[in-house]
């Protein structure tokens, strides 16, 4: 049996953790560059502000209702997410972290939970709230797709108090009937309207659709989802995350960027950060793609271009990756344009240990790998930016930096920003 544990309004709840004054007050969190609403507290959902709504459109209404607005604070969310995962692991040995705010658990692995999985999930829920301050909803089901559907019910029906177990067989049907096809896990937003046209409007509808027909009309993935709704596992438990196949670091700029110098700084940052991610998962990149674009909705001339470069030997070296990114930038940059976005994408990833140990032993300077290890450790232990590429620049003012006007302190990852606590009141 699978359980899906999902944090309610995760980013908004993180913003409240050290701010009790925000309890029961409306809170929204904005995307990078404060572009649109990406998280809403329950109060904001009730106001009818939709997910993904552009901030500039909603700004007036949010102010009118006294909504607290935050820029996204990923260091904080990441830390709280890790705490939630660790808390789950304290009771359940098999935890698959699915996204920043969701985790699948294997429930049958526990003898204690086998008799009363719902009771077990209630204990989990209480512990996560007490240890981390996060409220979670937990759905139980025979497959991941059913657990996900159960989670929806746990979250939306207050009488369930945050936990719902999807019954087996036909007993599940009345519950699955209430779930719109577009809300079924694994059904893409593109295929939902198409399924609806064939009269498949709910999870229950998909459950009783012929598998062969689905394979013919749609893809294997829809057929699998139907099978999962019937209680047959197609998506097994996967504890360890697979290494990513591409690593992409791209950002829209806070303000349009025109000069090559600023672009060099920005692209160096992206390449530096991509190389770090690459080493974190133990990979080396065979190719790099760099792209630049102007604002497609802007008034100026439109331009979008990219260059792909191949490394002779797959590399995870920051020196090489940043260096190559600079060469690619020279090749794509056109003077006199206002750039809105740039990015670095690393592809053809391979296992670095294998490459260094076998095929290309001796080709690469072994001191370079050591240098990278030392650099990563210093940046981890002494804080980001302890060692960086000179091309990243050292000015205080950077027009390309993301707009994050309303970001909260890094309460848990920066000594200077940990929360203050007021001493006890003097006895009267």
């Amino acid at each position: 049996m699978f359980a899906l544990c999902d944090c309610n309004n995760f980013y908004a709840s993180c913003e409240r953790l050290f701010r009790p004054d925000l309890d029961h007050r409306p809170v929204v969190v904005l995307s990078n560059n404060d572009g649109c609403v990406i998280a809403r507290s329950a109060e904001v959902k009730a106001l009818g502000v939709s997910m993904g709504a552009p901030y500039f459109k909603e700004e007036g209404r949010l102010r009118y209702f006294g909504v607290e607005v935050f820029s996204s604070n990923y260091p904080l969310y990441e830390d709280v997410s890790r705490r939630v995962s660790d808390t789950l692991r304290s009771l359940a040995p098999d935890v698959e972290t699915y996204s920043i705010d969701e985790a699948f658990l294997r429930v049958e692995a526990l003898p204690r939970s086998a008799a009363d999985p719902e009771g077990f999930c209630r204990r989990l829920r209480e512990r996560v709230l007490r240890w981390t301050g996060m409220t979670v909803s937990i759905g139980l089901g025979a497959t991941k797709t059913l657990a996900k559907a159960a989670n929806r019910i746990a979250k939306q029906d207050p009488s369930r108090e945050g936990v719902f177990a999807m019954p087996d067989g036909e007993e599940a049907d009345p519950h699955l009937e209430g779930i719109d096809i577009g809300d079924v896990w694994g059904v893409g937003f593109r295929n939902a309207p198409k399924l609806r046209r064939f009269g498949i409007k709910t999870a229950e509808g998909l459950k009783y659709t012929d598998e062969e027909w689905l394979k013919r009309r749609f893809t294997i993935s829809e057929a699998r989802t139907s099978r999962e709704l019937n209680g047959q596992v197609c998506y097994p438990f996967a504890e360890a995350a697979k290494p990513r196949k591409t690593i992409r670091v791209s950002r829209s700029f806070g303000n349009p960027v025109e000069d090559l110098h600023s672009l060099r700084e920005a692209v160096s940052h992206f390449a530096f950060s991509a190389a770090e991610s690459l080493r974190r998962q133990g990979s080396a990149a065979g190719k790099m793609h760099l792209f630049l674009m102007t604002n497609p909705f802007g008034s100026g001339p439109g331009y979008a271009n990219g260059i792909t470069a191949r490394f002779d030997v797959p590399t995870s070296s920051t020196v090489e990756i940043v260096g190559r990114a600079m060469e690619c930038l020279e090749g794509t940059f056109v003077e006199g344009l206002a750039y809105k976005k740039a990015g670095v994408i690393l592809t053809d990833l391979a296992d670095a240990a294998y490459l260094q140990g076998h095929l290309f032993a001796g080709v690469r300077d072994p001191r370079e790998a050591k240098l990278m290890r030392v650099m990563d450790r210093l940046n981890l232990e002494l804080g980001k930016g302890t060692i960086f590429a000179a091309s990243m620049g050292i000015h205080g003012r950077r027009s390309w930096v993301m707009r994050r006007g309303r970001v909260s302190p890094r309460y848990t990852t920066c000594w200077e920003e940990i929360p203050a606590v007021i001493p006890p009141e003097e006895a009267p």
């Binding site: 009790p20 240890w131 606590v421 001493p423 009141e425």
Partner: protein
């Protein structure tokens, strides 16, 4: 590097008596997932806390009488000695950390 304590010549006579070195983290942090660090905004003589001290706050253990707890007061996080009868608290202060500096 391999374990520096593994010897290439004679086996160490201390080997069977090997113990882990003391770890400040293990002393102060019983539960990593539920422990948060905060800074005291003032002096609390009864607990030998100075302004600016770092407080190690654990959410996983319930507050008991006589504990120094973090609570919510006027919408802010504040400290309070737990009176008789367990109070619900944000967390319980388990330790203090201070980097020593000479008073100027």
């Amino acid at each position: 590097m391999a374990d520096p304590r593994s010897t290439t010549g004679f086996p160490s006579p201390a080997d069977p008596f090997r113990e882990n070195p003391l770890d400040i983290n293990a002393l102060l942090v019983r539960n990593k997932a539920s422990t948060f660090l905060m800074r005291s905004a003032g002096r609390i003589p009864a607990w030998s806390i100075e302004e600016g001290d770092i407080l190690v706050v654990d959410r996983s253990c319930g507050a008991e009488e006589g504990d120094l707890a973090v609570i919510t007061r006027d919408g802010k996080l504040a400290l309070r000695e737990v009176p008789s009868g367990n109070a619900s608290a944000w967390g319980v202060v388990r330790g203090i950390v201070r980097v020593l500096r000479r008073r100027e």
